[in-house]
C-alpha cells in the first residue's frame, strides 16, 4: 500500500520536503514505519523523540496503518 506522510518542524527539514509517499506492506505498524524511515533518514533517529500520528491522534507502536489514514511524523513538540 502507499502511505502519504505529513512532516513538520525538524522532521520536515531532515527529509527536505513537507510530505513523503512511501510504499509499505499491508498492515504496517506505526513502529514499522518509523524503523523504515530511520533507515532511510538516519538523522531522524537522533531526535529526542519521534512519534507517529494517525488521524490527529498519537498512535501506539503496534497501531496498523491504512492507506486512507492521515499519517504524520511528530518530532518533539515545543509549543507554549
Amino acid at each position: 500500500m502507499n502511505l502519504k506522510i505529513a512532516l513538520f518542524g525538524i522532521a520536515r527539514e531532515i527529509v527536505g520536503q513537507p510530505t513523503l509517499e512511501v510504499s509499505a506492506p499491508e498492515g504496517q505498524s506505526a513502529q514499522g514505519l518509523l524503523q523504515s524511515l530511520h533507515a532511510r533518514y538516519p538523522e531522524l533517529a537522533r531526535l529526542s523523540s519521534l512519534a507517529v500520528a494517525v488521524n490527529n491522534e498519537y498512535a501506539a507502536d503496534d497501531t496498523p496503518l491504512q492507506e486512507r489514514d492521515e499519517i504524520a511524523l511528530i518530532p518533539p513538540v515545543s509549543g507554549g
Binding site: F8, V77, S78
Partner: protein, 139 residues
C-alpha cells in the same frame, strides 16, 4: 464552555479574558506565554512557530476537555496559540480558566499549559544572531 484557537494574528489578551467571564465565576486564572529575550543564555532575535493545524486544534480541545472533566466546577476555558513569526515580548499562548473558587482556576490552568507543552503539535524554532535551533529537538 471551551474556546480554542490557533492563529497567525496577534493574540488579543483582553478578548481572551472577556471570553471566560461568567456570572457564576468568581475566579479567573490566566497564563500568558511571551517570547523571552534569551533562551539558555543565548540572545533570541525572533521565533517561528509551525503547527500541524488539524491535530493541534484537536489536541488543544482534548486537553481543555480533560481539564473540564478533572475540575468539574470549571465554567469556561479559552486557549489561544499563535503561529508564524514572533518577536521579543509577543504573546505566544494564552490560557484562561474561570471557576467559582480560585484553587480550581489555578490547577486547571496549570494542567492545560503543562499538558499543552507535552502533546500539542506546535514546533518552535529560535533564531539567534548566528544561527537557529528547533527547540527540544535533540537530547
Amino acid at each position: 464552555m471551551i474556546h480554542i484557537d490557533l492563529t497567525d494574528q496577534p493574540i488579543d489578551v483582553s478578548a481572551a479574558l472577556r471570553s471566560v467571564e461568567a456570572d457564576g465565576a468568581g475566579a479567573i486564572n490566566t497564563f500568558i506565554g511571551t517570547v523571552r529575550n534569551k533562551s539558555t543564555g543565548r540572545p533570541v532575535v525572533r521565533l517561528e512557530y509551525e503547527a500541524y493545524d488539524s491535530m493541534a486544534l484537536h489536541q488543544l480541545r482534548k486537553v481543555a476537555e480533560q481539564a473540564a472533566e478533572q475540575w468539574p466546577m470549571v465554567e469556561k476555558i479559552t486557549v489561544i496559540h499563535r503561529k508564524g513569526t514572533l518577536h521579543i515580548g509577543d504573546v505566544a499562548v494564552v490560557v484562561a480558566v474561570s471557576t467559582p473558587h480560585r484553587a480550581e482556576s489555578f490547577a486547571a490552568c496549570q494542567y492545560i499549559i503543562d499538558t499543552l507543552k507535552q502533546v500539542v503539535t506546535i514546533w518552535k524554532k529560535e533564531f539567534y544572531e548566528d544561527g537557529d535551533v528547533w527547540v527540544a529537538a535533540h537530547p
